[in-house]
């Protein structure tokens, strides 16, 4: 038995992981979530802004991390729609642009169809900028130098885009929300936007990047959504305040916490099993 376990084919482990994730996905079991202070602060940052405030979203991620970050993006946009904040979308990642378009289409245009959000009046897609952190630095004092037009090449001073007319500097934004998977992303927004201008900044980040966000909270970062757990907590906070959003259709992240639970338990079990084999072998070796 010990030999079998010691030489366990890794395909059995892969199969166990597949089942640990697939079964909860099929079962659709969910667990209650309670927002931690980091997430509650992010929620309050959007909730406590006066209606129709300017919120800049930076989609600094690509499809590889969409499984983790898309539920955060959706929940944050829904919250801004409920408060009728004016949403500006941009990305510093080339693959982020289609994700912005998808979210605008799925959430603002379809979910909130009856609210009649208008492009240029209620939301604006500024598109992609290749300037990385330098783009943030220049936007700090001259927003329209980095984004003279929106993604449809319409100048920001055009009468059809009234929401952009008064935006000259980054601190004309009441809040920045960065959905970040790496560089350029969270750190650059902290260093070149939140710190020098004191703009409120909320971060939604992947699990691997989240530990780097903690040193900036609560001074430079107003709130942090860390990994799928952070997204689930945000959905719980949204459902608490707006009961309509307790519907599982709006709870992508909460539904993903069950597969995460079983995957974590499997990893713990595998570590214990691996160490059990290790100690059993050592005892066997000592006896010989």
């Amino acid at each position: 038995m010990l030999d079998f376990l010691k030489n366990l084919d890794r395909r059995w482990i892969f199969l166990a992981m597949l089942l640990a994730v697939a079964i909860p996905v099929v079962m659709q079991k969910t667990f209650p979530e309670k927002p931690t202070k980091l997430v509650q602060d992010a929620f309050d940052a959007i909730e406590n802004l006066p209606d129709e405030s300017n919120v800049l979203f930076s989609f600094d991620y690509e499809p590889s991390t969409e499984g983790e970050l898309a539920p955060m993006a959706k929940a944050l946009i829904r919250h801004c729609c409920l408060k009728r904040h004016k949403m500006f979308f941009m990305t510093l990642w080339p693959g982020g642009l289609p994700l912005i378009e998808q979210n605008i289409e799925d959430i603002i245009s379809k979910e909130y169809e009856e609210e009649h959000f208008a492009r240029g009046k209620d939301y604006l897609n500024l598109g992609y900028n290749a300037g990385r952190e330098v783009a943030i630095i220049v936007m700090g004092t001259n927003f329209k130098r980095m984004f003279p037009t929106d993604n449809d090449k319409i100048p920001l001073d055009d009468p059809t885009l009234p929401m952009a007319h008064d935006i000259d500097r980054l601190d004309d934004m009441d809040l920045i929300v960065d959905i970040s998977a790496g560089y350029p992303g969270m750190k650059e927004w902290v260093q070149y936007a939140a710190s020098p201008y004191g703009i409120k900044l909320v971060i939604a980040s992947t699990a691997v990047q989240a530990p780097q966000a903690y040193p900036y909270y609560p001074n430079q970062l107003t709130g942090v959504l860390a990994a799928i757990k952070g997204a689930a907590e945000y959905e719980a906070a949204l459902g608490e305040k707006y009961p309509k959003y307790r519907d599982p259709a709006f709870n992508d992240a909460i539904r993903r916490m069950a597969p995460q639970l079983w995957a974590h338990l499997l990893i713990i079990g595998l570590i214990l099993l691996g160490n059990g084999i290790y100690f059993a072998e050592r005892i066997k070796g000592t006896r010989r």
Partner: protein, 228 residues
């Protein structure tokens, strides 16, 4: 001359960025430098693409090991570039200008490639991590010494604390001792120990960046210009 001019450009631009941070009058120079950076960053994409093309083409023509993968890379690269540049499947905004539509319009070939090829492939690559982490946890995570024991204990607490299992297992703990629950301990690990470690690393990196930047600006370090 070959290294002096690029160094001079780097030094002048770097100094402009620093001066503009403290002297508001120099703000316009910084914005100008920023615009140039944006242009150069965009050109870097073209150079990167050309480099990728030549490297893989050389590998194929020399029939080096794994040249088949290079062929797949080239076909995917050229295919995506062509459908994007030629706006294949894009309906023109103005019938008089056949290329007037948006290059990533819904239903176009580039849109299709993004959503049905690039999107699932990159997501699948990232998802594979779970399988490799599980396999590595079984084979490599051993309690061999005190440091490994500390690492393992921390991993268990955080793994449990980030799921409902942690809250459920320590649910009998009264609220006044919530710091002793798995979620409470996870918050302490991330908020105290992790923050302290991260800050130390960040300060160290910042000092290193400042020193390296100074060497670059003064022309002491020119290694970034290449060896030629």
């Amino acid at each position: 001359m070959k290294s002096n001019i690029p160094w001079l450009i780097a030094a002048v631009t770097g100094c402009t960025m620093i001066v503009a941070w403290f002297v508001p009058v120099a703000k316009d120079w910084r914005d100008e430098a920023g615009t140039w950076y944006e242009i150069l960053a965009a050109i870097a994409f073209v150079l990167g693409g050309a480099n990728l093309f030549t490297q893989h083409l050389q590998k194929i023509s020399a029939r080096r090991a794994g040249w088949g993968y290079s062929a797949v890379t080239l076909v995917a690269f050229v295919g995506t570039l062509v459908v994007g540049l030629l706006k294949v499947g894009v309906i023109p905004d103005d019938p008089n200008y056949p290329w007037s539509g948006y290059h990533q319009e819904e239903g176009s070939a580039l849109w299709w490639l993004f959503y049905y090829v690039y999107n699932p492939l990159t997501a699948a690559m990232f998802a594979l991590l779970a399988f490799y982490v599980a396999s590595a946890a079984f084979r490599a995570f051993r309690v061999k010494n005190a440091e490994a024991t500390l690492l393992l204990s921390t991993a268990f607490i955080v793994l449990l604390g980030r799921t409902y299992a942690g809250a459920w297992l320590t649910s009998p703990v009264p609220d006044e001792y919530s710091a002793l629950t798995f979620p409470g301990l996870t918050a302490i690990i991330l908020g105290v120990f992790n923050t302290a470690g991260q800050r130390a690393i960040m300060i160290g990196i910042a000092l290193g960046v400042a020193a390296t930047s100074l060497k670059v600006l003064l022309g002491v370090d020119r290694s970034y210009l290449g060896s030629d």
